[in-house]
């Protein structure tokens, strides 16, 4: 505001008109450059997002026309065969036998990410509350370091660990016990398979999401005003009662936001899931132990094959999957941000004056 006013007030040209004016014009010129750089930098994220959305929509159009609503209802996702003459459908060409039914992938994405977040949230929140109430500061920062290390492990490492170590172990020792719950939750009935499937993927996702949710929760708990907690402590309430009466209500909405952010991560996670989930592209698994697939893992797993399709419709189908994933991610992210905004609006109303 000030910069613009000054620029207009003097002269549109930066040419120096004396010693003082000369120095001022340098400042103005610097301001302009800064302005321009800032404007461009500010536009980059917006432009990149718009560009991605446009490219995805345009690339997906052939597949959208080819399958119509079949994309959301069909249960077989097949790229077809490039060794047979292509087929024509709705005025489009696709490889022989191609079928772009993505419902199992959409469901697989939601089931894995929801199980993951459903496990990760109580573990993170319970853990953080217990640690912040019971452990001294120094031990807390030591454990925080571990959380950050956990967050920094590349997902491909989680994938390898999941497929070679964790999955087989669970299938051999834990899943057989879980089948006992099959009478309550039918999806937990056997057979348990070899450890590559929905449940193993969900559990590994949960481990990957815990650092995100836990770190956010830790910040929220730290931001609970001391004054609010002391109100409970001064009434002789225990730490446990204080957590229940003061701390948890203060962080509740924030934890919802953290859960949504963590869920976004679980929705989009690709490599670990691709390794672990078993990559089945036709139909649904009969229980949670068996192989399935997700949207992101399908893109990564079938891209190679899709690139051999000269009609381009296979790639377009993957673009449509990407578009669906993008929409889901944007929606969860926006929802998370809305919740966070609401929380910061309420801004911890302790001690608000008259």
């Amino acid at each position: 505001m000030l910069v613009r006013g000054r620029a207009r007030g003097i002269s549109p040209s930066p040419a120096p008109a004396g010693a003082t004016a000369g120095r001022e014009s340098v400042t103005r010129w610097g301001d302009r450059v800064t302005h321009a750089v800032a404007a461009v930098a500010g536009m980059v994220p917006l432009g990149a997002l718009a560009f991605i959305v446009i490219v995805m929509v345009v690339s997906a159009i052939p597949a959208i026309l080819f399958s119509g609503t079949g994309f959301f209802t069909g249960s077989v996702f097949s790229l077809g065969s490039v060794y047979a003459p292509p087929i024509h459908h709705h005025g489009l060409t696709a490889p022989f036998g191609a079928s772009y039914g993505a419902l199992p992938l959409i469901l697989g994405t939601f089931v894995t990410s929801l199980i993951a977040i459903g496990l990760a949230v109580p573990i993170s929140v319970g853990g953080v509350l217990m640690l912040s109430e019971w452990l001294p500061r120094r031990a807390q920062s030591f454990l925080s370091l571990f959380l950050e290390l956990l967050a920094g492990i590349p997902s491909v490492v989680f994938g390898i660990w999941g497929v070679y170590t964790f999955g087989p172990f669970m299938a051999a020792h834990v899943y057989p016990l879980l089948t006992g719950l099959g009478t309550v939750i039918p999806w937990l009935k056997g057979p348990v398979g070899a450890g590559q499937g929905l449940l193993t993927a969900s559990l590994v996702l949960a481990i990957m999401v815990v650092p995100i949710v836990a770190a956010t929760t830790r910040e929220l708990v730290r931001r609970v005003p001391t004054l609010a907690r002391e109100g409970a402590l001064a009434l002789g309430m225990t730490r446990h009662e204080t957590a229940k009466v003061v701390t948890i209500p203060y962080v509740r909405t924030g934890i919802l936001a953290a859960a949504l952010l963590g869920w976004g991560r679980a929705l989009g996670e690709t490599m670990a899931v691709l390794f672990i989930i078993g990559n089945v592209l036709n139909g649904y698994p009969q229980n949670l132990y068996l192989s399935a697939n997700t949207l992101s893992a399908t893109i990564a797993g079938t891209l190679d094959g899709a690139l051999t399709d000269s009609t381009g419709t296979d790639i377009s189908a993957l673009a449509e999957i990407g578009l669906v994933l993008l929409v889901i991610s944007l929606v969860t992210n926006f929802a998370g941000r809305l919740v966070i905004r609401r929380v910061s609006d309420q801004a911890l109303p302790v001690g608000r004056g008259v």
Partner: protein
């Protein structure tokens, strides 16, 4: 009820005949790491009287107040030496639990800090946690305490609503009612009206005077006029030490220490 609920040591000491009523502080020292916050504090707070703790900013008023319900226990790096006795029983003696102590010693803070719970729960949660009332009796207690602080008419229709929609003054009254719900013997007030409007301040001052008929009250205040209005006794601190402990009348009219004289007349502050 409050007599029956005394500290574990109270009755034993009364039997020995050494019990003195009120709050007695003996050679109290408080350090935060290497810094001395309070040193050599020895004083008596008379039972069922209002004692104003005054002094310049940073002189240790709040630190002293928080020694009396052991709020320093939670803070790492805080070290308390010496002793504080309530009705003759040392509250820092081994085996004395802060839970029972804080049941008897209520506290009101500089700014209102109601629980993020309903208005009714703000009153009833602590008594229920201490097992003083049943769920059924709680409703009666809520009305009784809110009536006592003059908030009942204003909130009776929205007992299940959040307290954060109340004005700051109403929130502070709610916190007072919350403290009173445990029937404390001692009330620690840490500048309870510093964030409030004059009308609510006057209302709270009147309540303090009424409450002093049954509760020992210690109030930290920056407002000398307030101290003069409501206190029976004054404790004047400077730099973590007691300068003067006297009745209000003496302190404000004929202080015994030159520094008190300077403080009362506004030359230091």
């Amino acid at each position: 009820m409050s007599e029956a609920m005394g500290l574990a040591g109270t009755r034993a000491e009364s039997a020995e005949g050494t019990a003195t009523e009120g709050v007695s502080v003996r050679n109290l020292g408080v350090r935060y790491r290497d810094r001395v916050l309070l040193e050599g504090i020895s004083t008596e707070f008379r039972p069922r009287r209002v004692t104003a703790i005054v002094g310049p900013t940073g002189c240790g008023k709040t630190t002293l107040l928080r020694s009396i319900n052991r709020m320093h226990d939670q803070a790492p790096g805080m070290r308390v030496t010496g002793s504080v006795s309530i009705d003759g029983a040392d509250i820092y003696a081994p085996g004395v639990g802060v839970r029972g102590l804080r049941r008897r010693v209520g506290m009101l803070f500089q700014r209102p800090n109601p629980f993020p719970q309903s208005i009714a729960d703000n009153i009833s949660l602590a008594p229920r946690a201490h097992g003083l009332v049943s769920r059924r009796e709680a409703a009666h207690l809520v009305e009784e305490r809110l009536t006592e602080v003059g908030l009942w008419e204003a909130v009776r229709g929205r007992l299940n609503a959040s307290p954060f929609h109340l004005s700051g003054g109403q929130q502070q009254l709610l916190c007072l009612a919350r403290a009173l719900a445990l029937s404390p013997d001692v009330l620690l007030l840490d500048e309870p009206t510093s964030s409030l409007d004059p009308a609510t301040t006057e209302h709270i001052e009147r309540l303090i005077t009424q409450l002093s008929e049954r509760v020992t009250i210690l109030i930290v205040t920056h407002n000398l006029a307030q101290a003069a209005r409501i206190s029976d006794d004054v404790l004047f601190l400077m730099a973590g030490r007691v300068v003067e402990a006297a009745s209000s009348r003496t302190f404000f009219n004929d202080p015994g220490d030159e520094r008190s004289r300077a403080y009362v007349s506004g030359r230091i502050g």
